[in-house]
Amino acid sequence: MLEGKAVIEDTDMPDKMQIQAMASASEALDLYDVFDCTSIAAHIKKEFDTKYGSGWQCVVGSSFGCFFTHSKGTFVYFTLETLNFLIFKGASYLI
């Protein structure tokens, strides 16, 4: 499974969900080439939509910056191999 150890940069997710995020990322890297960021992001987002309800967003890449509002307890940013992964559930209202 995990070829390399994932490093969590920042998160407010519960531990179990974090593990799911990293497992999904690792699984996606087995399925797709490291340059196919969109397919990798799609794989992770679809899995999270299925397990935790719709509305998830996923950004994958080696060079990007984001600014976003997310639902509470649904944010993780981590590094795995050469890529950075950002997963969050978007919020359209401020709690």
């Binding site: 987002k45 719709s54 509305g55 996923c58 984001c66 600014f67 976003f68 919020a91």
Partner: protein, 93 residues
């Protein structure tokens, strides 16, 4: 203002909103260094939250891929200078 011509790659936004998106991006590039992607994204997202209501997301960078669900009529992806910009209003429903 617009140092270079912005090139819209894909969108379902109204033309007026598109122009606003590119103007915000250009304004952000005047204010921040081209390497400071987060500040650039923050500037654009905050402006869109103010003008069009909360819930906007913005990704800026030279190398990234995304997969997301967005509200209807609120998505634009364009290139300006060396950066790519993705702006959309997320949906949590």
């Amino acid at each position: 203002m617009l140092e270079g011509k912005a090139m819209v790659k894909e969108t379902d936004m109204s033309p007026k909103m598109q122009i606003h998106a590119m103007a915000s991006a250009s304004q952000a590039l005047d204010l921040y260094d081209v390497y400071d992607c987060i500040s650039i994204a923050a500037h654009i997202k905050k402006e869109f939250d103010s003008v069009y209501g909360n819930g906007w997301q913005c990704v800026v960078g030279s190398n990234f891929g995304c997969y997301f669900t967005h509200s209807s009529g609120t998505f634009i992806y364009f290139a300006l200078e060396t950066l790519n910009f993705l702006i959309f209003k997320g949906t949590s429903s």
